[in-house]
Symmetry: C2
């Protein structure tokens, strides 16, 4: 192996991106090999490292009062562990043949090349912004980075929500429109409700939470309306209107105009892979980097990639997906750092688990939706059951709806979706493990899940669904 990049015979590992995947990889590589054997240089174009982007809605909403609590490890802490971390430094080019990256100081503009022996690409994802006039107007916010979150909080302070706005009582102090009704959209709806805003969610789909089947999304729709959120579905944003001061004034669709003091964009993210594309690294159908099971970029022995910029194998469908989620990024980083540090680890893939909440409504999914299963060439039965989080007679037992998909003939579990209140979301983990193990719904009916009246009915809701799915698979009916 060429060790020309490191000084004094050391190898040099270069990491592009200072958030979850990149810094987990750097930290784990450092645990594997000390500074005498491995130099680690990490580039981050922003101000912050290793922070929880998933926590931003709760900071904006006021549940988390201090931005710094979202930061797991500061640049100084990384440096103290022997990682040469350079913030406000953007990598602008990867020279794969020359084994070097070009980086530019964001503030001074000064640029230089840094050679590497091993490279980690952890460039994350960028939010999709609608291409229309007004999309960049003051008062229109993404919530991808801590800087985004701070900018949004500044707007809230200006438009009447303020740090304690709604929490101190009184009527709505401002009008907010959230564009998009996926995880970020519904979490931001909660945050803005908590800040005392009158919230309208404008959603392109038939129902909110397109990661669920529409029948389950419908339950979310109703519950959000019950929370006082105005839900506008089947609505494409056609323009963002600004006032004389240049600030956002309203969000327009084909049919209506929704006044807005603040607009939050939650219409999804794309892998941030322009750098990788320019360097000729392999990208998949969703625009993410393609890796092997050791998170090595396909065809490149000394380049790894992980986090929001890669595609991952969906173990249920057998196809690649793009999922931007901190928990995957951390796992990727762990695997990459182990491998880059000379050890061995793999990331086998995902089953597509996600949990979220809007106020006291909990939403969870894992595995395939109906349309995913069809796209994967699978035939299936679906069942939906109503159950409760605790024994029906125990105080606080709350209703939940569980939908389950099982493959025809084999009875293999294909997916689960849950909408309910307290105790609903994390029940999906049982299905996530069962999917990983390739269990049939019949095998699931005898799973030895924890039972006591404060925690579960005597048949856990997931098992109730499994029982009904067994019956559906057994019944000989023509498939859809």
């Amino acid at each position: 192996m060429d060790s020309g990049a490191g000084r004094g015979g050391r190898e040099r590992l270069v990491v592009i991106g200072g958030d979850a995947a990149g810094m987990s990889a750097a930290s784990q590589a450092r645990r594997m090999r000390d500074a005498d054997a491995l130099e680690i240089v990490a580039f981050e174009r922003g101000h912050f490292t290793s922070y929880s982007a998933c926590g931003i809605p709760y900071w904006v909403g006021g549940d988390v009062t201090d931005r710094d609590r979202l930061i797991a490890r500061t640049p100084e802490e990384h440096r103290a562990r022997g990682i040469d971390l350079r913030i406000r430094t953007e990598v602008t080019e990867i020279d794969v043949a020359g084994r070097r990256v070009r980086a530019r100081d964001v503030d001074s503009g000064a640029a230089s090349w840094t050679p590497y022996d091993k490279l980690v690409v952890a460039t994350g994802a960028r939010p999709i912004r609608p291409e229309m006039p007004g999309a960049d107007a003051p008062g229109v916010h993404g919530v991808q980075t801590l800087d985004d979150g701070q900018a949004l909080l500044d707007t809230l302070a200006r438009t009447g929500g303020g740090a304690d706005g709604g929490r101190r009582g009184g009527g709505p102090s401002g009008r907010a429109v959230v564009v998009g009704a996926g995880y970020i959209g519904v979490e931001m709806a909660e945050a803005l409700i908590n800040r005392g805003y009158a919230v309208t969610v404008v959603n392109r789909g038939r129902e909110p939470m397109a990661t669920l089947d529409p029948d389950m999304g419908r339950l979310v729709h109703r519950a959000m309306e019950g929370l006082g959120i105005t839900m506008v579905n089947d609505a494409e944003v056609t323009g963002i209107r600004t006032g004389d001061d240049g600030r956002v004034r309203a969000v327009a669709t084909a049919d209506a105009e929704f006044p807005a003091d603040v607009v939050v964009l939650g219409i999804g993210v794309r892998p941030e892979t322009e750098l990788a594309r320019a360097a000729g690294l392999p990208l998949g159908a969703h625009g993410g980097l393609l890796t092997d099971l050791s998170m090595r970029v396909r065809g490149h022995a000394d380049i790894w990639a992980g986090g929001d910029c890669v595609e991952v194998l969906d173990l249920v469908s057998g196809q690649e997906r793009h999922i931007a989620l901190g928990t995957h990024a951390n796992k990727h980083g762990q695997v990459i750092g182990t491998n880059a540090g000379g050890g061995y680890a793999t990331f086998p893939g995902v089953v597509g688990t996600a949990v979220s909440k809007v106020c006291d409504l909990e939403i969870a999914r894992t595995g395939l939706r109906e349309k995913d299963a069809r796209r994967a060439g699978l035939q299936f039965e679906t069942v939906t059951v109503e159950s409760t989080s605790r024994a029906g007679y125990y105080p606080g037992a709350s209703p939940m709806t569980v939908k389950m998909l099982a493959e025809r003939r084999t009875g293999r579990l294909l997916g689960v979706q849950i909408v309910g209140r307290e105790g609903a979301a994390k029940r999906v983990d049982v299905a996530a493990v069962a999917l990983t193990a390739g269990m049939t719904v019949e095998r699931m009916t005898s799973l030895d899940l924890g039972y006591a009246p404060p925690f579960s009915p005597v048949w856990d809701p997931v098992l109730v669904a499994a029982r009904k799915a067994v019956a559906a698979v057994r019944s000989v009916t023509p498939s859809r």
Copy 2:
């Protein structure tokens, strides 16, 4: 098949025991075959059917205000579904060769024989009572049946706890001693605290919750003391003292005497199998009936058994255990009813999952303890980690301790124990499914569990433990 028992050519299924296993079996058999094809006769010696014995502590504690809420299905409801249910009728003999059971009306004493084609033995368990003077004195209570629960509530009303005693404030209104610190013991301690009693738990073991390893039981010990419960460990009850009125006055150990207005016995249960033993049916080392995977009594083609009177296969140790738990009883009943009704189902075994709580302390376990693993001939590594129920920065994140056992060399998961607060107990389900699937701790580290800040840290506590277990298994150290 001999169909002589049923009238008009119908087969007759006789069920002994009207609680979870028996009535689930009867109900499922009825779903499989209607009354024209299958006559179903069920005998229950008590007043009640299909009730949640697990709910009794919460009824006694006042969380459940109405006894009838613990009854899933009344005798009348069973009869309306075509089950010939005879309450207050005790089966006193099984004549296996003659395919008949002898039953006695508890009130009148009248007895008669009932022939069967198929038989279900679901006689449950009986609480262990210490054999010493005073053990049957007024004020000493078991909590196995609804009748037990009512008797205990009557004592509480008499001794100052009363229906709303402690809940309405004021100082302790009476002194309660709980003998035993297993699930029933700790749940009854909570119930009596809720009723305003000063509670002492007298426990034979080194720490409470002997279903956990002592190091985890120690956490329960400390937490219970923090709740104001007096914990007396390493203490064998040597006598129960009564006053001049014949009622209980104190519980004595070798070292001390603990004044008591009420005593609750929670020292475990044994399979109720005298009837089966007398009939020559096969019993295991723990005194429970032995069945095959279809819950058929070994060696008897037309007799099934399930619920608290049977032994079950522990899938992790490969040995039989006795576990009295409603959720298993319901599953057994479902399997038995399907098979007795002419269908096919199996109960593959258990992994030993159990969850419980004492006030806001949650306790969970699945798989093997250290001593179970040793007894099964397994060598293993153990790790213990501290984590939180939610992202550390999210309000309400509560600490939890997770202990994990993994097999040496293979890294196969052997067991998990969790002690914590809200959100701790049901996390054990992930380990229960992983145990069922025979997963290694290394495979577990990449499990796709639900992540969002209100629900989990970015590494779920179970995954944190799995990561540490991987490292322990990898390190080459002499085994204990």
